[in-house]
Symmetry: D2
Subunit: 399 residues, 4 copies
């Protein structure tokens, strides 16, 4: 057992921290008046610089990306989480593109990789992942109502999607759509994934869903999308018919590590902001930093962050050593605990700032919204708790 | 001791509930695409109807208003809180105008009442209350930096205000400004309040502060406002020089009852939405309504709402029977407990809705934002807890 | 609506507070070395004095007792809760005897009343209530396994009871036993209650159950009891065959009010102890009373106690005005919230005392144990939450 | 970074788990009626077996003990925590003896080691550590009032100690006493430690303090102890005059690791008991294991335990690699978080057991008491939070 980072990770961390200090944090103030769905103007410049500094596609293992393990990438994702509106996209490591690139790299045909993975890896286009549907609990994949029907050399797609991240970004050129190719098949082989270019006739991006009043432009927003007799070539199917559920499961593991490590970074940022505020603010003649309740928040934040980080790192290590399946409990555990832990910390940071904390004058309200939303994205925490509890109970059954 | 409402209250409650059912709830869907600072188009019509039905200015005791006691008005404020974007304004019972009308009714000169109170009571104009300042803890009134300096027959106002509720509403015509007329006086008689018409030269509404991405147009937004050599007639001073702190304290009591009872209404609305969702949603083959964790949220919500409501009603009863001062502990207690209680309930309602809960498709995200903000408005909870604790400790000192 | 106590209540409160100050609190130190099951020696004297001062059987409505309503008795129960090891028993208002006397007063035959109710009312004997059984969830009455079988002029009782409060008190002379007279009857008419004198052959008090290491002698302990072919005359049946469940339900309502109001009193006592400790203790050069975290505990305690008390009083008022059934939600609500609220407060008081707080040198550890145990007595909180949630959900069904 | 145990640790873990299964768990039922201060009769036999199996003095690094690192011993301490009334003492790894043996091994003279350390290492005698005093906050060492005054070849000790763990065990033969040799010296060099054999005239063990009704005989109880003109040879001083505070700090680090890892073991035991109960209990026709609230407890327990364990292991690793001082934040962090985390879990386990959970029929109530007490032992959590917060704030000062 050994708790230090390896040399490669330390090198990347140092370079990434410099990049943050020199380029990312100074660009943040330009965001406070940016409320739309398009990328902020400063992003292109940051991307060029990140690419030139070798801080590009760090999330992607294997030949297509930087080749880091989950355990090596995790602490870097944490650092990008400190400035989630800029840093992940600057490094081409932003959701939902990361998951989509992973899918294409692992399951895409050479042709699909050439046409869509390569421009995504170069950061020229963005993408969306269309799974969630209105009116049903999408954490249960059998509820998916979208149909992907074979018709000669084409597939015809009909469905209604909702909260589709990335779709409001004007650079979003490609959708990975989850639907059923065979609704009568066995529960987990009914679904397939298929590539649908944004300009395909019949695909309508109806409106952007708000998130606590925000557009969430950092993620390309979240759209309601209609698919009405949308036709794409049969070669757009990813993998084989019926593999959609399996691919979506494979996509989840690394995504959870990324999300959770970025959350840890958000928590660290909030804690830093809470401390600097507490040191500079003196209501009623006594610095906030000397008030017991604020000290309690700071201590709790530090203790909870340390614990949460270790659990995410262990989950990453398990994914690297025993695979997604062997890391099941830990991946579920971080999804359960990290968003609510970090939400708590950001809430306390907001409280130390008073009205400024809920406004656009600090990043805190937006950070809070991100953490809160992750308590219900990919299935609400409660679904994951139930599943984890069942596995725990099974250890003791029949003893 | 007796826990039933009196006949007058029951009559008003019945009529107000009908008004909500027939006019307010049906108008709510028109709000989901309303994201600016101006009042929603439907409001004028609702106001006309409320006035004609005798549901107007219910908040105001005495001859100028409906003449209800705090205990009689409180359950009505609760009902308006169920639809906080429409109902309070529809009844001319919306903050910050209510507090401003109270100030003018109690402390305004006949001339001030004629010029500003009457159009406010008729709902023709809106108003703002300018107290908070950037960079200092405004919960400590001695921190106020705005100067109100006598110069002949005029006062000259210089200052920088922040988070000024109501000021972004284009109908806002008048500001009540808190500033120091005598910074060298004893701690609590340095401050005065003065009326400043919006179009006075030197008054600049600089920008609207966001609240978790929202404009909070329901309250006329929250503005950053500059006062640069703003000149108004000396007769615009409310009361006497040095009375500003005392007036602001008098303004607080009823305001807390109103806010807290509306919060109870928001909590009831969220609980209703949680229940209807739980009854209609069946993920994994079992209604949410039969899942233990959701049942736990529902039960806790009911229990906490009942307790919170009783405490607010008792505070209102004390204000009516022994006055603001005698109700000090209870008024502080409701400020401490109601926002966080209702925030918790709304959070759980959001969780039952998943992504829809954080979007514009339910009122929940906006309700949550209102509750969260009230944990820090009028001084963060922590300041009130400290003050309440000191009074509790004093009971046992020297025994 | 009116939040003041009536004159009769105020008179009793004043007299009871004097009794506490003059007789009960001074007797407390004698308890710290009293660890057995028998009543403390000082009790007899306190009882004599309470009787002579007209502070006797206050819990019992109607001619047999003081004739107070639930709303009048509740604030008196609160005061006795401040010293739960002495005051309730001193006033002959201690569980489980109170519930047993209520049952006998309401459902007992004249003969049963003469033989058992009268000596109980005089405080000459104590009693036990035998319902809970090992190995099953006793919150579900259909689980009861004890048999009460008619055999000529007698009933023969066989069963195994567990956690039978009162049974370890050497003065306990009579058991009210719940069992099934007809296991094949409809769900809620299978059960009956029957009187079993302690010295009846076949009744064995096997051992005393501990409660966090305590004997809980205040309640006469909690015993494991065996009934092996225990024979009593048929006239010992209370009410009619099959009425056991209904009687147990009638017994619950007032019991919950009593328990919860005593808990409020325990919470007040703990808050007083927390304050006096905070004022007298100065670690690291600064009184605990000036430390933010301790102030936060004190403020939260005060706010939570006020809310909890109001809810219990409202439940009492509902019982008096619309009966047990109309007060169902509120009775359940107080059972859900009061024990955990008071447990939290006592925990914080303990923390201010350090090691002394968990020892016999303050009443806090014993108070905590009482509050914790009430989170699971009469069915765990979770059962009551589920039931309350279902009623709440039913309000919205079919809308 | 690497999360697996090394081979030596795995070997010890396997052997220790077998020892638990074969000898410790089967001996537990004999404890339920053991309520005094003397060691349970079965202990001697368990000690003999542990010694013969090489599971002896595992806690002690260096030549005197098993020579394990903190990181190697920590997972073994966890396993002993699963049965804290028997396993730690069976392996001669029980507090307060472990800390005392560490002090003697590191700071004791050869003579002191021969006379006291050796019999302690052989498990022939037990010891006590006398630091806490009544009436002052002992978490502040300058508050210590006990005097250790040089008088010729002797030291004369006068003081009043309180909550002295181990002192009620009849086998306790030696006290390590903390007192002031020079009250006028600089703050942290006033204190010294000295060895006082139990039978020295003037040393009176006055009474045993209860812990929530328990004697806490597992730790040899907690005594109030008087030192009245107690004379011991000058050679009984440990180290030099003024080194008492430094020794007590050195003693704390490993002690916190041990306590926290045993707590993790208690949490695991409670979780196991919660699961087995949930699987076997079926109230209202549905197993507890399928009820959402119980599943929520189980999932939360697992997630919290995993995080807490990782943090303790990291603290142990830091102690081994960068020393006590470099591990300061983490050692404080585990003291803050582990007791309350485990207390929460045990509370939920108790709730699944109902009345049995608070009685002597499960180990849960005693486990809970241990966890609760550790929230205030060695200074209440709040003191450690304040200290940790200050260090965190210092990171951001002057930036």
């Amino acid at each position: 057992m050994e708790f230090g980072f390896d040399a490669k990770t330390e090198d990347y961390r140092k370079r990434l921290q410099s990049f943050m200090d020199e380029h990312v944090y100074p660009a943040e103030p330009s965001l406070s008046s940016h409320t739309g769905w398009e990328p902020p103007p400063v992003l292109a410049e940051l991307q060029a610089r990140a690419k030139s500094e070798g801080l590009w596609n760090l999330f992607l293992p294997g030949e297509h990306g930087a080749g880091l393990t989950n355990l090596q990438y995790a602490p870097l994702a944490e650092i990008t989480g400190r400035s989630p509106s800029l840093a992940p996209a600057a490094l081409n490591c932003a959701a939902p593109d990361t998951g989509n690139m992973e899918v294409l790299a692992e399951f895409g045909s050479p042709e699909q990789q050439r046409e869509w993975l390569e421009p995504l890896l170069r950061g020229e286009i963005r993408s969306a992942f269309a799974m969630t549907e209105p009116g049903v609990a999408s954490s249960d994949a059998t509820n998916i109502g979208t149909r992907i029907a074979r018709d000669g050399d084409e597939y015809v797609i009909n469905g209604h999607k909702f909260y589709i991240s990335g779709a409001m970004n004007p650079n979003c050129k490609i959708f990975i759509v989850m639907g059923k190719t065979d609704p009568s098949a066995e529960r987990h082989v009914q679904q397939s994934m298929i590539l649908v270019p944004r300009d395909t006739p019949g695909l309508t991006v109806k409106r952007g869903m708000r998130v606590f009043g925000y557009t969430d432009g950092d993620h390309g927003g979240h759209a309601e999308v209609l698919f009405e007799d949308v036709r794409v070539p049969a070669s757009n199917l990813i993998g084989t018919e019926g593999s959609g559920f399996a691919i979506s499961q494979a996509r989840l593991g690394p995504g959870r590590i990324h999300h959770c490590m970025r959350l840890i970074g958000m928590g660290e940022r909030a804690l830093e902001l809470m401390c600097t505020r507490a040191l500079s603010r003196t209501p009623f003649g006594r610095p906030l930093a000397e008030q017991g309740v604020v000290q309690d928040w700071i201590a709790e934040s530090r203790v909870r962050l340390e614990q949460a980080r270790l659990l995410v790192l262990k989950a990453a290590w398990l994914m690297d050593t025993v695979g997604n399946k062997g890391a099941h409990t830990e991946i579920q555990a971080i999804k359960i605990t990290v968003p609510s832990t970090v939400e708590w910390i950001i809430d306390k940071a907001i409280q130390t700032y008073g009205a400024a904390g809920v406004s656009q004058d600090t990043p805190l309200a937006a950070l809070w919204t991100a953490a809160r939303t992750l308590r219900l994205a990919d299935g609400p925490d409660e679904v994951h708790k139930r599943s984890l509890a069942r596995r725990e109970l099974n250890r003791w059954r029949d003893r």
